[in-house]
């Protein structure tokens, strides 16, 4: 009797059905946990993503995002319906100072140019045989904006959510390694040495009007951007109005942290062995790198054009910050600027294109959803 019971427990356990594919996924989860903890690569999202992968790939756990009735099945609705990325955007808006962008609105063009990577990768992905929906989701990795990538992929190619989220957050963490060689290759030392003049002071009224005007204008132009741009600007209005400090604080701290946990776990839990271990995943990861690199190229090249048009008043290094990834990409511009000229301080100037990149990638996502969404 006891032997029979023991045998049954063993047969029903996950050990009996753990195949090599699930084992590989557990190793992948372990590697990502290592990167998040030991290397601090975007740990706030990479750690829950990695643990989501771990849980989803344990046999019989029913913790995959597509396992009907499981915990993550319900939490995943927030991703599927586009709720979590929009709420995260509200938090991002509450944390973002659009002052540098308002004082130098031409920075918006750098934020637009850096979206080149999205469309370059989109074209290459189409040539590799991906559908337009899949190619759009892969390209959006180049926006260097995790919530936007997840928002777009959940709508256009949900089966690619796992690899795209992992690629997007991994490359965002690797920006200090990906961007500098491209920035140095495309600029001369003379260009990198340019010291820019301080931007003008922005009035409180301008700061308050900015999120309202941008919301009305962009959503009228591209209604599909409403969830992202609308929530981004709502968060920013909380911040700039100065009358709802509690809401602003909640949006950028408590709410954002809660949503980040749900988002990370459920996106990670989409990456089950049967869908993740495919050639397609490697292609997505490679194309994501292409998108990031060409986004940087687009931003720096427009920066060079602005350098010429302004007769040397704009340092082209700030163009690379247009890829979004706030504020890491702006910090990279600052570091590279100081390497060329130790007295240079580009951070404030790079924050303009950097926050413009957030708007730019949301707009690019809206366009792709409008073109290829059902």
């Amino acid at each position: 009797m006891f032997t029979h019971a023991l045998e049954r427990i063993v047969q029903d356990s996950g050990f009996a059905t753990l195949d090599w594919r699930s084992a590989i996924m557990l190793v992948v989860a372990g590697i990502l946990i290592y990167f998040a903890i030991a290397k601090k690569f975007e740990p706030l999202l990479l750690l829950p993503i990695a643990f989501g992968i771990l849980l989803a790939n344990l046999p019989f756990s029913t913790m995959g995002s597509y396992d009907e009735g499981g915990l993550f099945y319900y939490l995943y609705m927030g991703v599927k319906l586009g709720i979590y990325p929009s709420l995260i955007f509200m938090g991002v808006g509450a944390m973002t100072d659009f002052g540098p962008l308002i004082s130098r609105p031409s920075s918006l063009m750098l934020g637009a140019a850096a979206q080149f990577g999205i469309f370059f990768a989109f074209t290459v992905a189409n040539l590799l045989g991906f559908t337009p929906q899949e190619a759009s989701s892969i390209g959006i990795i180049g926006g260097a904006d995790g919530p936007t990538a997840i928002f777009t992929t959940a709508r256009l190619a949900p089966h690619l959510l796992g690899p795209i989220a992992i690629a997007a957050y991994s490359y965002m963490a690797l920006i200090p390694m990906i961007q500098p060689p491209i920035m140095r290759a495309l600029t001369t030392k003379k260009e990198r040495e340019v010291v820019m003049t301080m931007p003008r002071q922005v009035s409180k009224l301008e700061r308050i009007l900015f999120p309202i005007i941008v919301t009305v204008f962009v959503v009228l132009l591209l209604p599909s951007t409403a969830p992202l741009i609308g929530m981004l600007m709502l968060g920013n209005l909380f911040r700039e109005s100065g009358v709802v400090e509690r809401l602003s604080d909640t949006a950028q701290n408590a709410l954002m942290n809660i949503v980040t946990i749900f988002l990370g776990l459920t996106v990670g839990a989409t990456a089950k062995a049967d869908t993740f271990l495919a050639v397609e995943t490697l292609q997505v990861i490679a194309l994501g790198l292409v998108a990031f690199a060409f986004g940087t190229v687009g931003g720096v090249l427009l920066g060079k054009l602005m350098y010429v048009l302004t007769k040397g008043k704009v340092n082209p290094l700030i163009g690379s910050a247009g890829v979004s990834a706030v504020p890491m990409a702006a910090r990279v511009s600052q570091i590279e600027g100081q390497k060329a000229n130790p007295g240079n301080f580009l951070l404030m100037h790079a924050m303009g294109p950097n926050v413009a990149g957030v708007i730019g990638s949301a707009v690019a996502a809206g366009i792709l959803i409008a073109l290829f969404g059902s």
Partner: protein, 71 residues
């Protein structure tokens, strides 16, 4: 307001092309490039429009906030 010149131009071009471009269902290289060009143009147009609005708003507000001259 001279700085907003390129913004006007981008908006204008996009409205014109946007009215004539049809998105195909299946994408070969030519289609992909067309979608890329059209989409990038639209991104530039959207952001150029914001540039334009901010530039106009900033100019108007600064006019109102100029210190009044007096004896």
């Amino acid at each position: 307001m001279n700085i907003s010149g390129p913004a006007w131009l981008t908006v204008l071009v996009t409205w014109v092309t946007g009215l004539t471009y049809q998105v195909p269902q299946k994408l070969d290289l030519g289609d992909s490039l067309a979608v890329t060009a059209f989409s990038l143009l639209l991104v530039f147009a959207a952001l150029a429009s914001i540039w334009l609005v901010i530039a106009i708003l900033g100019r108007v507000l600064r006019q109102f906030q100029k210190p009044k001259g007096g004896a």
